[in-house]
């Protein structure tokens, strides 16, 4: 069972492992590598689901596919989450692990897109501040807002109290959108958002919140979504992503004593 942890709670060794796996994944330019999976979300494949009840199921399957590929590289790894409701996030903004330029070759700072030149030229012409075009290949960028504009713990607690899946997913997706915009830069537009490694820490947080809502609402279901609906780009159906333990992972909890 893979145990997903808060990025802020990773041990030095676990963070080093996460970086090593991310570096290795980025180095794979075939369908086992980071660029392949990032390209499933937006360009060039555009499989992602937004604004529909498939938002949470599809992204759960998507994270699973990347995590499994990363576990093929190192079976000890699990996707970490970024708790943007935490005191640290509301003071410092982005997690230090993803901004620490003192780490040589920190793979969490940014990412390449692997997109063809013609597509990159169109992006540069229309949204020039969405990638760093001063380097070749272009890299993802961020333009974070004031930390206190990130969603608050109180807001998320209220959303976790939503009585129906439809209400919950609608409200949670809105907060998700807000964080994408808050990070800005590449994260601020769907077609290239997933090329920034912070995307997956953000979405692991979203998936964790769905899991927490499921714990509170064990019969909450997924509203009107057909359970045998395929989640495009993956071999999974909605039914297969309802139980995270059946997908081989769980979320760590932190218990403080004393």
């Amino acid at each position: 069972m893979a145990i997903r942890q808060n990025i802020a709670n990773l041990s030095a060794a676990d963070l080093a492992t996460w970086r090593q796996v991310m570096t290795a994944s980025k180095g794979l330019l075939d369908n086992r590598g980071y660029i392949h999976f990032a390209g499933m979300h937006g360009l060039p494949n555009q499989f992602c689901q937004h604004g529909t009840p498939l938002f949470l199921p599809w992204h759960r399957a998507y994270l699973y596919m990347l995590e499994m590929a990363m576990r093929d590289i190192n079976s000890a790894v699990a996707l970490p989450w970024w708790d943007w409701t935490s005191d640290d996030a509301h003071t410092n903004g982005l997690p230090a692990a993803y901004t620490d330029a003192s780490v040589a070759g920190n793979p969490l700072l940014s990412g390449e897109t692997g997109l063809p030149q013609r597509t990159l030229q169109r992006i540069q012409a229309q949204v020039p501040d969405s990638l760093d075009f001063s380097v070749n290949p272009p890299l993802t960028v961020r333009a974070p807002g004031p930390p206190d504009e990130l969603p608050s713990a109180a807001t998320i607690e209220a959303i976790l109290g939503a009585p129906t899946f439809a209400d919950f997913t609608s409200q949670l997706e809105d907060q998700h959108n807000q964080v994408h915009g808050w990070v800005g830069g590449s994260m601020g537009i769907v077609p290239i958002a997933a090329f920034d490694p912070i995307f997956f820490a953000h979405h692991t947080m979203i998936d964790r919140l769905w899991y927490l809502w499921q714990l509170r609402n064990p019969n909450g279901g997924v509203g009107t979504v057909p359970l045998d609906q395929a989640l495009q780009g993956t071999p999974l159906t909605v039914r297969q992503v309802l139980d995270i333990n059946q997908l081989g992972y769980d979320y760590a909890t932190k218990v403080t004593t004393g």
């Binding site: 360009l43 555009q46 992602c48 689901q49 937004h50 604004g51 529909t52 498939l54 003071t91 410092n92 903004g93 982005l94 901004t99 620490d100 330029a101 700072l109 940014s110 597509t119 169109r122 992006i123 229309q126 949204v127 020039p128 501040d129 969405s130 760093d132 890299l139 993802t140 960028v141 961020r142 333009a143 974070p144 807002g145 004031p146 930390p147 609608s170 809105d174 907060q175 998700h176 959108n177 807000q178 994408h180 915009g181 808050w182 800005g184 830069g185 601020g188 537009i189 769907v190 077609p191 290239i192 958002a193 495009q232």
Partner: protein
């Protein structure tokens, strides 16, 4: 505040924080207290149908009875602020001709594909407490004003003379 600095330390790939106000929309209403059962509702939602998400990402701030609200208006109940919705935009179209034209895919009986990714979406803002306070203060709800604030991408919004906040209609639902 618009364009206040970020507190993150500079790092590679970090651009200046940027926000830009877009063109707002104001709905003139005349819902008196009686129409809303004298504030006895338990929940009130503003629902926006057909919201466009093909352009930049943005926040749409909802103000009640404050038609002059701007992006610098404090988001407080006293100012009529009722909540926001957030759009994760596609940034524009980077595909070939026709790629971003919303079509009828998924609608025909044997078309099992999902809808076009740019199919306009639905957004909802729960405004219960703000509406109750406005009704207590003003006696009626006269205006709903939306103030869109984009996250960066000045080229996209400046190239769009109609503004990036586009939707088909707004409905107010109250629940007892």
């Amino acid at each position: 505040m618009i364009n206040s600095p970020a507190t993150n330390p500079p790092a590679p790939g970090i651009l200046p924080y940027h926000r830009r106000a877009g063109r707002g929309k104001s709905h003139a209403l005349n819902l008196e207290l009686g129409h809303l059962q004298r504030g006895t509702f338990n929940r009130a939602d503003l629902v926006f149908e057909g919201v466009d998400h093909s352009g930049p990402s943005f926040e749409a701030r909802v103000f009640l009875n404050h038609p002059d609200a701007t992006a610098d208006t404090p988001r407080t109940v006293d100012e009529g602020y009722a909540g926001s919705f957030h759009i994760l935009g596609h940034g524009n179209c980077f595909g070939d001709v026709g790629h971003c034209d919303v079509d009828d895919r998924g609608k025909a009986p044997h078309d099992l594909r999902g809808p076009h990714p740019l199919t306009p979406t639905r957004k909802q803002v729960t405004i219960t407490e703000a509406l109750k306070q406005v009704l207590a203060r003003d006696g009626k709800l006269e205006q709903v004003t939306l103030v869109p604030v984009a996250y960066g991408h000045p080229a996209t919004s400046e190239a769009d003379p109609e503004g990036f906040l586009k939707y088909e209609k707004m409905d107010l639902f109250t629940y007892d």
